[in-house]
């Protein structure tokens, strides 16, 4: 699976405008963009920063599968998924998903399906760094 501009895994800051532009054209009326940002606390505990690790080729392949699933279910849609890896500071975007469709209700549905599926299936892991330790999120029950 080769990476294309619609599917992008990068250690550089994500740019919402760029992701949005990939799916915007003059025949799509509505664009829905989801941005997942790094939060400053988990269960009340202060997070200093996060580290994202990916199984890169498989992560790209799984993100492309999500894209193809959306395109199959909504044939007139366009979708782009950009995900960050490496060290992220609080407030930075970890993922941006942009979906455009002729009718807006579909764009909301498709964008939500995409992020829900990404969080379940794409081999990317985040480690939260606290003042007194670090934890791989979701690793333990």
């Amino acid at each position: 699976m080769t990476e294309n501009s619609y599917i992008h895994l990068t250690d550089m800051p994500l740019e919402a405008d760029k992701v949005t532009a990939l799916v915007s054209n003059s025949s799509q009326g509505g664009v829905v963009v989801f941005t997942g940002n790094v939060r400053d606390r988990t269960k009340g505990k202060k997070v200093l920063r996060l580290e994202y690790q990916a199984y890169q080729p498989m992560a790209i392949s799984e993100m492309e599968k999500i894209r193809q699933k959306v395109l199959a279910q909504w044939p007139q849609s366009q979708i782009a998924i950009h995900h960050r890896v490496g060290t992220l500071q609080i407030g930075e975007a970890a993922v941006i998903i942009a979906v455009s469709t002729p009718h807006r209700a579909q764009a909301f549905k498709a964008c939500e399906l995409a992020i829900d599926t990404l969080k379940e299936q794409v081999p990317i892991w985040k480690k939260e760094i606290f003042e007194d330790g670090e934890v791989w999120v979701a690793a333990h029950p």
Binding site: Y52, A94, K119, V122, I124, W125, A139
Partner: protein, 80 residues
């Protein structure tokens, strides 16, 4: 069979390296392979779960390991 197993997230920390080279002599089904890993690295039993990827695809119940496959351990993902 000789297997190279890619490690990510917590499994990389448990094993202490990013790739494990194994001369695996057990049955080639996924369940047996996972049991062997849990025996060898008891901390893996404490995980919520972990999956196996073969050649960058999630292994299915009936998948079989073959020499030369790209194997990876996939602990619970947390992207997004």
């Amino acid at each position: 069979m000789k297997l190279q197993v890619l490690l990510f997230g917590i499994t990389r920390d448990i094993v202490g390296k990013s790739m494990l080279e194994l001369d695996y002599r057990g049955p080639s089904d996924i369940q047996s392979f996972k049991e062997m890993l849990k025996d060898k690295y008891p901390e893996m039993s404490n995980l919520s779960h972990f999956k196996i990827a073969i050649n960058q695809e999630f292994a299915r119940e009936d998948s079989q390991l073959q020499e030369g496959d790209e194997i990876a351990l996939i602990p619970p993902v947390s992207g997004g």
